[in-house]
Amino acid sequence: MKRMKGGEEDSNSSPSNSPSEACKKVRKQTGEESEAVVASGSLDSDWARLPQELLLHIFQYLPLLDRAYASQVCRRWNQAFHMPELWRCFEFELNQPASSYLKATHPDLIKQIIKRHSNHLQYVSFKVDSSTESAEAACDILSQLVNCSLKTLGLISTARPSFMEVPKSHFISALTVVFVNSKSLSSLKIDDTPVDDPSLKVLVANNSDTLKLLKMSSCPHVSPAGILCVADQCHGLRELALNYHLLSDELLLALSSEKHVHLEHLRIDVVSENPGQHFHTIKKSSWDAMVRHSPKFNLVMYFFLYEDEFGPFFNEEIPVTHLYFGRSVSKEVLGRVGLHCPRLVELVVCANGLRPLDEELIRIAKHCTQLSAIGLGECEVSCSAFVEFVKMCGRRLSQLSIMEEVLIPDHKYSLDEIHWEVSKHLGRVWFPDMMPTWCRFVTSVSRRCLQRSRQLPGCTRKVRAPLA
């Protein structure tokens, strides 16, 4: 904390210089000074006598590249460059020119880190582009991290999930090197990787006391039993992300056992592998146990399902807080959401059928009393129902992202009026989200639009006679 305060002062005192410029200046000055000093007979410049502590402090605010330049100024600065404190955190970027627009961490630097600083590394992430080569390179580096104790490790595919292309045995052996050597791993992000049950066992055997976060969405080689073993042993686990097929009643009960700390965040991705897939259900009693144990936990669910796959969901109360529907979801399912999700905080619906969601939204406003954020994409809501919804939710709606096309003008409100009405209820200026029309200069006599005006009760929009 102390260090940080210092940082602020530092920056305030020299607000106009970027670090790199400052660095250049320093270099220049030292050059000039040392000349002067040489003239007066002493080789030591004042700059080189800067206390190591201070140097470290300054270095922390310099990008690596600038630090590298600074390290060439003098021996002391070079020593400072290699101070362990500066190497606790590192992000390896592994990209191939053929598959990425981004530059990669230079191999020489990687070598140097492995040689001189691997024992200092604590927070490490690998960002890997879509090529298998890069993912393999990441595994190679991991395998060499034998004398380090990591606290966090993240394997991130920035484009396609390339770790899945690496031979599983190669990946597993690299990962287990970290698990075995780092006895105090606290967070691990290994989404979209071929991690499997046995390797999770190694994780648990070595890091069960320290593990607090585990993100492993879309890891097809892990079974429900594999993740259950983690939940059983790692009592400090507070954040967990996984796919729905790994979620079980047993898992929830394990997470809500007395020995277990409060869960803070559970993220579930529900992805359909093939159409017509059957999904299991989770008992209400298991969710209830979870809520009793961790009353404040957030349940984040992302759905990527076909409409007809929603059968097993939202038939009973579920403590979900953040809901995202990435594909079209039916009116009926949204109706069930309104009934069974009392803890809902955020709801995002990317698409829905052609019928307006009026009753569903009203129901959600009524039952989901925590709701503070809603986003609607390809949906339809009549303007009056929408205003009613906003009125019911009132100012707790801090995020309201509605595509302009969503709102269907009716007898009460036109599109030009609605933003005033909504703004009034929200207590702040609000507009619908707009998409560029991109030079669409076509007027079409929209059949749907005419149909709609017939369907909506009291709608006054009528087709007029052509102008005389």
Partner: protein, 668 residues
Amino acid sequence: MAPNSIHWFRKGLRLHDNPALQEAIRGAGTVRCVYFLDPWFAGSSSVGVNRWRFLLQCLEDLDANLRKLNSRLFVIRGQPANVFPRLFKEWKISRLTFEYDSEPFGKERDAAIKKLAMEAGVEVIVKTSHTLYDLDKIIELNGAQPPLTYKRFQTLISRLDPPEMPVETLSDTLMGRCVTPISEDHGDKYGVPSLEELGFDIEGLPTAVWPGGETEALTRIERHLERKAWVANFERPRMNANSLLASPTGLSPYLRFGCLSCRLFYFKLTDLYRKVKKNSSPPLSLYGQLLWREFFYTAATNNPRFDKMEGNPICVRIPWDKNPEALAKWAEAKTGFPWIDAIMTQLRQEGWIHHLARHAVACFLTRGDLWISWEEGMKVFEELLLDADWSVNAGSWMWLSCSSFFQQFFHCYCPVGFGRRTDPNGDFIRRYLPILRGFPAKYIYDPWNAPESVQAAAKCIIGVHYPKPMVHHAEASRLNIERMKQIYQQLSRYRGLGLLASVPSTNGNGNGGMMAYSPGEQQPGTNNNNNNSHLPGVSGSSVAAGNGSGSILLNFDNEEQTRPSSAGQQQQRLQPLPQQQQQQQQQQQQQHGRSHSAGYHSVPDTNQTITSSRLYHEFAVPQHPGLLLHTRGITGKRERESEREGSGEKDPTSCSVHKMQRQSAETT
């Protein structure tokens, strides 16, 4: 002696509402209307045959209309910079007029020509008529920065005077005593070339769905307004199966080439609205289509890298995948998603697709499914799309890929569901992909799900006669939405679980129009004094100052740009650490209480400078993008030009000549 004038046509290919052309004629003895075209560049340019044909038709129409006034169009084969000096002499020119071009590259070209003209003692008159407003005025009104949200833009517009009225159409009366000297061999020397002459193979080329020219444009606008009057519906037309098809009232390509004046369109709309709605004053939304165009022109006018991710201060850097095979499948309509492929087929065949269809294919290529850079998609549109304008095209692509303008990113178009909702029967697909004609509506959007018997009956086996889907859409959207969220969370420094709150502008009250656009950023590489984002106190305060303002984006940019700017060659040796960014963010959160995190926050080891909780969230933020910066004052517009500069052109003027050549070769 009365002056001899040249009017130089580029865009603005019309005789109506053409103020610069009027200036050419005013009091002049002779006038010659010229258009520059370089046949040697035509074949190699990135512009497709449909666009060339449209242009040639525009020129023919222009020539025909000029003939009615005893004048002709002079199509000059060559480059303006090379040919103008000769023309000035040969024709004893004392006045040159042209329409103002707001695009960075056009401005540069015009400045060079102006200089040439001045040296030759030729007076130059430039008039604005391709846009409704003086874009510089909008920028000035916004504190010398272009507005970065449409809402903000609308606010600014509403404070301006209405656009100027269109000027009179060129007529015999206007021509007065002004004549055009025409030689016997005019046709040979200055005639409009044919597609074959430009080196295009026109065998089997179907007739144009969109015939070019001012005459056609004026017919269309009348039809367009009649139809609007008949519907009396001034709201946004909703999309249906019919609107996907090219319409005889479509106007966008005509506005692009300036066959139709945007001001004429504007005032005709106004008149009609007043007539129908009994004199109530029209809302801004009436002009939505025109204003979007204007918005992108404004955003681009001072940003020569508007069509790039690198070095573009308003573009979010996203670690797009480089994947030429996937890109080719998309461009050649072989994705295996009938909805996407039908649209891309229509685009290639006809040169126009509905704007929502553009959204669909753009989303699919970028943030929705393939995760390929919007720049690639933009280039394909530039080749194929009749109405693709540099500013509007790049701007729309940035918008749709959520690379700028503080767009909500949650909404991804489903390559199956979106089409099905629009055209449940699938007629659009059957029209453009006849191979799928036999599929019943139930399966036509996802034929790979059809039972074998259905495929056999349709005489189309998926994987044999039509490709299997190239991506698993559900899986791809899961990955992509997560990535977008992380990228936006870094921009907004928001650490909570919410998806919607990740977008900077939505954190505020929707008027995210105060966005900063640092002037210093316009020349990346000039390591300006604002680049102090590594000093947390300073950049932090700028974040706090704006209510979800664009300075966030700016800082993001600065972070990336400070490093390489001073680096020279060695920059490739080392990569920056994420550490100071994290510290910076952490401090900002502490200082300004912007940390709304519902996530895990307890710190395992309080002595750590970096708390692990931060690290969790930093995991997947976009990285420092390729550190390559072509920083030396590049203002050119297309890739090849930058290459030219990079290769160290000796003479700066020859450079701009090169650019001019490319520019005119590419038909504007």
